[in-house]
Symmetry: C2
């Protein structure tokens, strides 16, 4: 037992039997104790370590039950002979014995070779993730007092109490077998019915409930579309500037991205038609659009353009991915009907989310797929993560059916509108001709294009010194270098605070 080195410490947080257990176990793995070697009796060891015999017996019992030790009747306890020789020999030198901790348990090999080996085994997708940098998003900065950069709704205004009442109601009563069947992976049926009603009413989008797949936010909607429909090297047209989350997801899957300019009417369909129409040799697999409120420019695609895009898609077979991330916030008239509702058999997949109208951290969204794709998308959702959390889905059903969402939106629209108009007026007063406000009266952010000689980086840095978080649209462009374009989300902060922050900007942007 000389090699056993049992460091028994009466004050150690681990109980005594556990210290003995760990010490013997590691010594066996280390080869300090050899296969077949006889162990001291429990009595012997208890005297040696000055602990009770019951403590040693307990440790031995665990080691026996786990196969480290074996007992031969009438002869005592031995280190198991069935531990593979190859294992205990090869790795003998590489281990320390001082109980379990984060670094020294297990057998340490050459860590560098190990990493290389893992990288050699990456999939096509995994290798894309390794070589691209998919984690370099601008993110909110906890050091600042006000964060202009992110498209968040006003979290404090959300009727959280009501939401939690609904959650709790279902939690107490829930039949949690409800989504057992893979056929229900697409979502809780009453929610799909409520969404189908909601889409018809608010987006003129008629669909059957089973065309709806409930997902964990719009990102999963985009991801499922990509997985089911996109092969590496497929051509995908996207808006430029456009939503980075979609760009990145397409890139990671190996799409060839074709950035298409955006103007006051959204994506320039004339460019699509000029380059990818039926006579072109280049086949466009998909076009990703945010027609109701282009991200980040805020342009609203007029009806005529929508119809033109649908015609193009029908003619060429291009699949339209319509990301309708915040059409609920429109201040000058009824929302324009969703693309998906304008043409029953055009290849359009609609993506909706509750991130902008409720809470981003809920991770709840949905997609509407053409009928021939229902089973395929349902299978994909089932294999991916079974289904979205049931309680959330049940609470959301009531939230929609009982009118809470409508009430919340009715309450928020005039508040957001007032903030929007006040800030636009203020920016124009402060910057005059040197600022251009893009986009229509919609959404919960403003895109301002400044004429300035100061670099984006310097502006962001100086803003941070004033405790103001700014985000540029730079990374929303793929083929162009654009500067001086900043996003102003006004949803989450009270108007006086927004005004005070905006008033500081002329000292930074000039």
């Amino acid at each position: 037992m000389s090699e056993l080195l049992l460091n028994i410490d009466q004050k150690h947080k681990d109980t005594l039997y556990k210290q003995i257990y760990n010490g013997i176990r590691l010594s066996i793995l280390n080869g300090g104790l050899k296969a077949g070697e006889k162990m001291p009796s429990t009595r012997q060891l208890s005297i040696e370590l000055s602990v009770s015999r019951a403590t040693v017996t307990l440790a031995y019992e665990y080691l026996l039950s786990e196969g480290y030790l074996e007992s031969r009747s009438g002869s005592g306890t031995y280190v198991s002979r069935h531990l593979p020789e190859e294992y205990t020999q090869i790795d003998r030198k590489s281990i320390n014995i001082d109980g379990l901790n984060l670094t020294d348990t297990g057998i340490v090999d050459n860590v560098k070779d190990y990493a290389i080996h893992l990288y050699e085994n990456l999939s096509y997708y995994g290798l894309n993730l390794k070589t691209g940098n998919y984690l370099d998003y601008a993110t909110s900065d906890s050091d600042v007092d006000i964060q202009f950069g992110f498209g968040r709704p006003d979290l404090k205004a959300f009727p959280m109490k009501k939401w939690m009442q609904l959650m709790t109601y279902h939690a107490i009563r829930a039949n949690l077998h409800l989504l057992d069947s893979p056929h229900e992976a697409g979502g809780y049926h009453p929610l799909k019915e409520a969404l189908s009603h909601y889409l018809l009413k608010s987006r003129a989008l008629p669909c059957k409930p089973n065309q709806i797949i409930v997902v964990n936010g719009s990102q999963q909607g985009i991801d499922l579309v990509i997985r089911c429909l996109l092969n590496p090297n497929d051509l995908v047209a996207i808006e430029e500037p456009g939503y980075l989350g979609a760009q990145r997801a397409f890139q990671a899957a190996g799409a060839k991205l074709i950035p298409i300019e955006v103007n006051k009417e959204g994506l320039r369909i004339d460019i699509l038609k000029a380059n990818y129409d039926v006579n072109s040799k280049k086949i466009l697999k998909m076009v990703y659009v945010t027609p109701s409120h282009q991200y980040p420019t805020g342009a609203v695609m007029p009806l005529a353009k929508r119809l033109e895009l649908i015609s193009f898609a029908k003619r060429t077979g291009t699949i339209i991915i319509e990301d309708d991330y915040d059409s609920e916030y429109r201040y000058d008239g009824r929302p324009i009907p969703a693309l998906s509702g304008l043409a029953k058999s055009a290849p359009v997949i609609y993506i909706g989310t509750f991130s902008k109208v409720m809470l981003p951290a809920l991770r709840l969204g949905y997609i509407v797929v053409p009928e021939p794709l229902i089973d395929i998308f349902t299978s994909a959702k089932w294999l991916t993560d079974r289904h979205s959390p049931l309680l959330h889905q049940q609470a959301l059903t009531d939230f929609l059916n009982q009118g809470h969402l409508e009430r919340h939106l009715r309450k928020m629209r005039p508040i957001y509108l007032e903030k929007r108009r006040t800030l636009i007026k203020l920016l124009k007063e402060l910057f005059g001709y040197r600022v251009n406000i893009l986009g229509d009266d919609a959404g919960i952010n403003i895109l301002a294009r400044f004429q300035t000689t100061i670099s984006d980086e310097e502006i962001i840095q100086k803003a941070r010194e004033l405790k103001i978080g700014l985000v540029t649209t730079k990374s929303d462009y793929i083929s162009k270098q654009v500067s001086g374009e900043f996003l102003f989300n006004y949803a989450g902060e009270p108007l006086p605070k927004l005004i005070a922050a905006i008033k500081k900007l002329p000292n930074i942007i000039y």
Copy 2:
């Protein structure tokens, strides 16, 4: 306006302006109203329809703002000239006008061609989903009184009230910006710390918190592993019988599955060594195992075999996917340490879940990845669905740190053990030599192999007539035809009910 066919109905659920709006809109899309055509004045139309002029004006305003109509100063209102000709002409005949409903809005093409076109555009993965049948799982039957087939914990015993208190606590206070950064896509940091502590303590698995990726249940863990590491045609060894959810996910991704027999010690590593060791030409990419409690046989892989599997993996570079779905339920001694904890630099990915110890419908699990893969898996999670719901993660952190999970497990273990032992005894009494109970004293289900001449289908059918839901392991086999193997989950029902149901079985299985 003869073609406008405005069906104004005072009793219709839609307001009058909406009926007018819909009628005109559909007539324009239908071509009944042509581009450039002059519209009646609001006064004229209000008289014609016997509605107030304000109502007509409101409808016109929406149509103007959406681009269906245009006004020329001094000259009146016209159907927009900018609606593309191609669109309104081609589809003229295919639309009815009677307001929005599920079937007649939008432009109907040849639906059959449309489906074919969509199928031609499926990805490799999408095509696999279409050709395989991924939705034909046995699922729980609401017609039965007792459901033996599924590995569910006792939902009624879960401290739901405590859980909802924790959820509500965080909901009211939550800073929902917490997971803003893609670097945090892997999960809420305090939860990762709690899990790292839990894994070290309960599974002898030392890992750094950032090696943990919080996912939506173990299925998403399996899916992320597949996406990041598996290419089509890669060889993957899996247990036979084995977990269908993993099999299907591998198949959908194009893996070549190699079923490996399972015996009392779990996956037969000797078969792996004989066929895929370093001298073999065939390279095994992954091996998927459930060593702590093999699904569905219940075998526990002894330590020696675990070490042997790790040696094999290190030698050959095969990546081990360790699915530890229910190791918390072990009744005869401490759980055997996780494979992942036995070898620091062996290529092992550990998958854990809270489905079996808390609630399946929560959709919460986690994976532990080797350090070189942290960024890649974090990127994958971010691109897939951003992150798992924050409130769940916060509540789970407290649930672990405040000892609720341990308390819950301590309470449930003796209850499950009593049920287990009683049912095994009863089955042996009732069936004698004609039943063989597989597996160790672990988990929340029993696998019973019956000697019977009755087919599985007939047994299931007859059981259903007695209001008993049974599930066979038939579909857990890939290369073999096996019958007479049934799963008995005993967690969710009280013992007398379980006994009563089991006592009926000799009339069905004989």
